[in-house]
């Protein structure tokens, strides 16, 4: 370390020592003042943490869908233009065409979904049944924990078999092994052939509260008012895309194929909507970003108030210690020495408050996580950032009082009582 740097550093250290002495002299006042910054930092960190948690949750639920995937729904695409009265259309034949014609498609998972009542001897539950093909597991990234998945044979024969989500299995069968048991789905008896691995929950939404049945079975047995008009209409289609394939290009290809099949002319609205996991990510990142920004902005107001408190108390401190300032000037302190002394004092006050605020935030986030089942991660970046930001608040709001102190006339200051 060069001598100049060392001197500079020891100058700041001296100021920290002076500041700590001064803050101890008015301990109660210092604690009360720093409370404002403490609460401000606590609020801001929690806002950041909750925002991060939201991002993590959204990512998790998107990843739970399957990583590289497009979702096609039979709804008129409203993003393209004005709303039309036309009804959406999506058929199993459309799905096959996508599988055949679009490059990079790994597998498709056409689906029919309906709400169902489940009954077993001694128990009942409502859940949603998804009619799926055997490829569903590959596309959506789910697998069985015990038993087996829906098979080709099940699909061809419209077998009355069901694979239960873990929540449904627990609700109906408790600790018993449900494989081989019978469950009535809307009064139709089904055989349980497997139980899915858990996919947890996201945003308080249970990803395990469902059961899977063969698509053909769903079409024959679980047809309800929600079922679309045509004999091979779908409610939902997952298209799994190979890793490394450009999802935007795949989406363009799918759109072209489906528009051709539906004879949609240029300028007309498509009777289907395609979204990709990539788009979900982008959209949800935007949304959670705004959400986090708003939270942080609101929390920052309390930090601002804390900063004003610091400024206020520093002005009082300068007034009270005018004589000390005069003395220091007489002993050779330059204006910048006085200014730095009070800047450091304000920064030290804020950093102490910020550190306590950070500690409280870490505690609060832990409580939040365990009570509300919502992640609120506070990374090392956030922690360091909070401390640095506290120091910055101190410097910012300490500037005016510090400059005022440094501009005092040494004679006047010495004469003050």
């Amino acid at each position: 370390m060069s001598g100049r740097l060392r001197r500079g550093l020891s100058g700041w250290l001296i100021n920290v020592r002076i500041a700590l002495t001064a803050l101890r002299v008015n301990l109660t006042r210092s604690v009360l003042t720093t409370l404002g910054v403490m609460i401000g930092v606590l609020a801001v960190i929690l806002a950041v943490a909750v925002g991060n948690g939201a991002k993590v949750s959204v990512m998790e639920s998107i990843n739970a869908l399957g990583s590289n995937m497009a979702i096609v729904v039979p709804q008129p695409d409203r993003r393209g233009g004005q709303r039309t009265g036309e009804r959406g259309r999506l058929t199993e034949r459309d799905a096959r065409a996508i599988e055949r014609l679009v490059p990079g498609v790994r597998a498709i998972a056409p689906q029919l979904r309906s709400s169902v009542q489940l009954t077993v001897p001694g128990g009942r539950a409502s859940s949603s049944a998804i009619g799926v093909t055997p490829d569903y597991g590959r596309v959506a990234g789910v697998d069985v924990d015990i038993g087996r998945f829906v098979s080709d044979l099940d699909e061809r024969t419209a077998a009355r078999v069901a694979v239960l989500g873990p929540s449904v299995a627990a609700k109906l069968f408790g600790d018993f092994d449900p494989v081989g048991q019978s469950v009535r789905v809307n009064r139709v008896p089904f055989e349980v052939v497997g139980v899915l691995q858990s996919k947890g929950s996201s945003f308080g939404n249970d990803n395990d509260d469902l059961l899977l049945v063969p698509l053909s079975t769903a079409r024959q047995r679980l047809a309800s008012a929600t079922t679309p008009q045509g004999p091979d209409d779908l409610q939902l289609l997952f298209v799994g895309v190979e890793d490394g394939v450009d999802l935007r290009q795949a989406k363009r290809d799918m759109t072209r194929v489906l528009r051709d099949r539906n004879n949609v002319r240029r300028g007309e609205t498509s009777p289907f909507t395609i979204s990709t996991t990539e788009e979900f990510m982008e959209e949800s990142n935007t949304v959670t970003g705004v959400f986090q920004g708003v939270l942080v902005a609101i929390a920052s107001i309390s930090l601002l108030v804390g900063g004003i408190g610091i400024m206020n108390i520093m002005l009082v401190s300068v007034t009270e210690r005018t004589r000390e300032i005069g003395l220091r000037m007489a002993l050779g302190a330059r204006r910048r020495d006085i200014r730095n002394q009070f800047l450091v004092e304000a920064a030290v006050l804020c950093v102490i408050g910020g550190a306590i605020g950070l500690a409280l935030a870490v505690g609060a986030a832990a409580v939040f996580e365990s009570v509300a089942d919502f992640p609120a991660p506070i990374g090392p970046g956030t922690a360091v950032g909070a401390i640095l930001f506290s120091a910055l608040i101190g410097l910012l709001f300490g500037t005016y009082p510090a400059i005022r102190a440094s501009r005092l006339s040494p004679i006047e200051a010495l004469r003050s009582e």
Partner: protein, 233 residues
């Protein structure tokens, strides 16, 4: 040899309520290295304003004042601060020690602004306190020291940067007679070791410890003479 202090036609004017007050109104005065001078005068005589200028706390309105050959009228705030730090040691009536700060740390304060590192600050401050007979009081805060001891700490602080001039403003104003004599004895001893001492006082008894007496009235020097019956502590 050039004098330590050299005032020529020195003036200081204040605007006070629309009126111009001539606090120092044309003073010519030299103080040589090694002198012991008492500056006397009633309040309003201009002695305090003069003291502020020779202490580099204030600059003249007109005329020149050289401190160790440097015209202070031409200096910036930082340069004045450097002169105060290196060339002048202040002793005040109310001691002006920092509360809740040990004697050692109090004495070391000027060295902070001189850019001296921590270890040397402590060593030099300890040496000065030892020379003031306070070796066993270094860790005491001012509240635990008597008035005389506090003033000795203040003198140690004034001397720690090894200045050319010890400038004392009513140094015995807050002390009893015996302690006052003691402190003036310290000044005489230090002067004997070679440092220039200027004491500003309105008490003739205190001025009698000096070798030369300068009397101010209405902003001018009206008398400047050696002290005839000099007291020794």
């Amino acid at each position: 040899m050039t004098p330590l202090l050299e005032a020529r036609e020195l003036r200081k004017e204040y605007a006070l309520g629309g009126e111009v007050v001539r606090a120092v109104d044309g003073v010519d005065l030299d103080i040589a290295h090694g002198e012991f001078v008492a500056i006397m005068g009633a309040s309003g005589s201009g002695k305090s304003t003069f003291m502020n200028m020779i202490g580099a706390l204030d600059v003249p309105t007109a005329g020149t004042l050289r401190i160790d050959g440097t015209d202070i009228g031409a200096l910036s705030g930082d340069e004045l601060a450097a002169i105060r730090n290196r060339k002048i040691g202040f002793v005040f009536q109310q001691f002006n020690l920092l509360p809740r700060t040990t004697a050692l740390d109090n004495v070391a304060v000027p060295l902070i602004y001189a850019g001296v590192d921590a270890a040397e600050r402590r060593a030099r401050a300890a040496r000065r306190l030892g020379a003031m007979g306070l070796a066993d009081r270094m860790d005491h805060t001012p509240a635990k020291l008597s008035g005389g001891q506090q003033q000795r700490v203040a003198i140690a602080r004034a001397l720690v940067t090894e200045p050319l001039l010890l400038l004392a403003d009513e140094p015995t104003g807050a002390l009893d007679t015996a302690t006052s004599e003691d402190i003036m004895g310290v000044f005489q001893r230090l002067n004997g070791e070679g440092i220039t001492v200027v004491v500003v006082t309105h008490e003739p008894d205190i001025a009698a410890y000096a070798a030369r007496r300068v009397l101010f009235r209405d902003g001018r020097v009206i008398e400047d003479a050696p002290v005839r019956e000099r007291r020794a502590a």
